[in-house]
């Protein structure tokens, strides 16, 4: 199977700071891949390089087998790509329709009737049919985020690169987003970054955990949860460390790390696996 994304030794520096370090990655066609990591871990930098908007400092990157550092191949990649930046800015005086239509023009949709049908389709997909002719300045933060997601969906791209798409969305809207992206993952490939492990657990087939610019975990959400097998227990000490333990919904105190002798072990979740990695908590054995 040909890779949609392939990187070898991919590195990006900003001055002395290394945002992405010597990263090897391969993503095949189909499915939804979640990118987890704390702020500053290099998620946005990696996505920007894969979305062809940032050039690498070193290493190789291929998208659809093409090299984004070559201008002709970069344009060919962009024709098959949908990209949602982390902080999209929309012109406040445009309507939602105008914004998406403008991006559709930039995506070379020159036939006006076809383009406007597509604009209505993607705005409908994100639940903005009723608000499509409202000015951006009157839209809520969640609605603006959905306008930006609609722009990324234009033309049903083969690869969707979404930087924190669930940001600013309420629970209902997140469900709708999962549905849209899951459907997209049936035919195309979706790569999204998020802070929410629940998003990853809910609809990603593969999860990557990025820490300090390198991939520290690559597997399924279940495998990420399994990392914490034997390292989540009920803390009955009454003096729990809030960075390692917290009160769960049923009132018990969950703790992660190396359990004391005789501790009651709990079924780990993807949260536990991620926290073990992200906080560098000791995993014995």
């Amino acid at each position: 199977m040909s890779a949609v994304v392939a990187t070898r030794g991919l590195t990006r520096r900003f001055g002395r700071h290394v945002a992405v370090a010597d990263l090897d990655l391969r993503i095949d066609r189909g499915g939804v891949v979640g990118l987890l990591g704390p702020n500053g871990s290099g998620k946005t930098t990696l996505l920007r390089m894969l979305a062809t908007v940032l050039s690498p400092s070193a290493g190789e990157v291929e998208v659809f087998g093409l090299d984004p550092t070559r201008s002709d191949e970069r344009t060919a990649i962009r024709r098959r790509l949908g990209y949602l930046p982390q902080e999209p800015t929309l012109y406040a005086g445009f309507t939602a329709f105008d914004v998406v239509d403008y991006v559709a023009v930039l995506k070379e949709m020159t036939d006006r009737a076809v383009r406007q049908d597509e604009v209505r389709r993607v705005l409908g997909a994100v639940g903005l049919t009723d608000a499509m002719h409202k000015k951006v300045r009157t839209l809520s933060g969640g609605m603006r985020q959905r306008v930006a997601i609609a722009c990324a969906l234009l033309g049903t791209p083969d690869l969707l690169v979404l930087d924190e798409p669930a940001s600013g969305l309420d629970p209902d809207q997140r469900l709708q987003l999962r549905s849209v992206l899951s459907a997209h993952g049936q035919s195309g490939t979706v790569l999204l970054s998020t802070h929410h492990t629940t998003e990853v657990a809910a609809f990603c087939q593969r999860v990557l955990v990025l820490l300090d610019g390198t991939v520290r975990f690559d597997g399924t959400p279940a495998e990420l949860a399994h990392l914490a097998e034997g390292h989540v227990w009920v803390d009955r000490s009454g003096t729990h460390d809030p960075t390692r333990s917290w009160v769960s919904a049923d009132g018990t105190v969950r703790a992660i790390g190396s359990p004391p002798a005789g501790a009651e072990l709990l079924e780990p979740t993807i949260d536990d696996g991620y926290l073990l990695l992200a906080r560098g908590l000791t995993v014995a054995g």
Partner: protein, 277 residues
């Protein structure tokens, strides 16, 4: 025209039918319309007189009319890209008007310094306009555009073409209307084009605003030094041989413009804007 029923006056059935078909005009149509606004019975009678299929078709036509994209999105594709934001278009028009009005108003008060200052400052406006076309104020969708096939220097060049298309003719008009020789007063055109090209060329790698500021400052200082030496000369002599009108300056302007355009043609897909972070 109307008939009286037990509940009050109502529009005649024939009038309602004629109104429905669009056959009533002028005062008769106004009269029926005014009555319909306050008479629920006649509105109901009018509504039921239209077949259900026709009603559905009319709602569809209304929905299409409401759903029609705004005037902005009906403009031609390329004009939309070139026009950028309404702020950019407003800035282009405002700068063009100022380019004509300000020097002429100043010349009406005191022609010699006004004309000399026009010559000194004229290249700065197109250079400023070029930077304006490059920057985020001109771009309606910001980072959302970055990964699209058309996002490249072509879009910036289109916006800059719109700005220069407004500014350069305005400057030429001002030059022709000011006192003094037009040949001398048009000396700013080549430096302006060279400055704009250089700003764009720098924009393939860096945000060019500091290049624009440095260029405009250096230009104003150079011309001001030349003016200082000739401040007591009559207008014609003050402009003739002023540094801007020297062969060397004009030749350098042509050379800079040529190098910048060559660079742009080779790096037209490299746009520093939006990709620096």
């Amino acid at each position: 025209m109307s008939t009286q029923h037990t509940g009050g006056w109502h529009a005649a059935h024939d009038d309602l039918l004629a109104y429905r078909e669009g056959h009533l005009h002028g005062a008769a149509a106004d009269s029926v319309e005014a009555h319909l606004l306050r008479c629920a019975d006649c509105r109901a009678a009018l509504a039921t007189s239209v077949p259900a299929e026709e009603q559905a078709a009319r709602w569809d036509r209304l929905a299409v009319a409401i759903d029609r994209p705004s005037r902005w999105s009906r403009r031609s594709t390329w004009l939309r890209l070139a026009a950028g934001t309404p702020e950019l278009a407003t800035a282009a028009v405002s700068l063009a008007v100022a380019f004509v009005v300000v020097p002429l108003a100043a010349a009406a008060l005191d022609p010699r310094p006004a004309t000399a200052w026009f010559l000194a400052l004229a290249p700065a406006l197109p250079v400023a306009g070029t930077v304006l076309g490059y920057r985020a104020v001109a771009d309606p969708v910001g980072a959302l555009a970055e990964a699209t096939p058309l996002h490249s220097f072509r879009i910036v060049l289109m916006r800059v073409a719109v700005l220069l298309g407004a500014l350069l003719p305005a400057g030429v008009v001002a030059s022709l209307l000011l006192p003094g020789s037009a040949v001398h007063l048009l000396g700013w055109v080549l430096p302006a084009l060279a400055g704009s090209s250089l700003v764009l060329a720098v924009g393939t790698r860096y945000d060019p605003i500091w290049m624009a500021v440095a260029l405009c400052g250096a230009w104003a200082a150079t011309v001001a030094v030349g003016m200082d030496r000739r401040r007591l000369a009559p207008l014609g002599e003050a402009l003739d041989g002023l540094v801007v009108n020297t062969f060397a300056v004009q030749a350098v302007a042509v050379a800079v413009a040529a190098v910048a355009v060559l660079h742009l043609s080779r790096h037209r897909d490299e746009l520093a804007y939006g990709a620096s972070a």
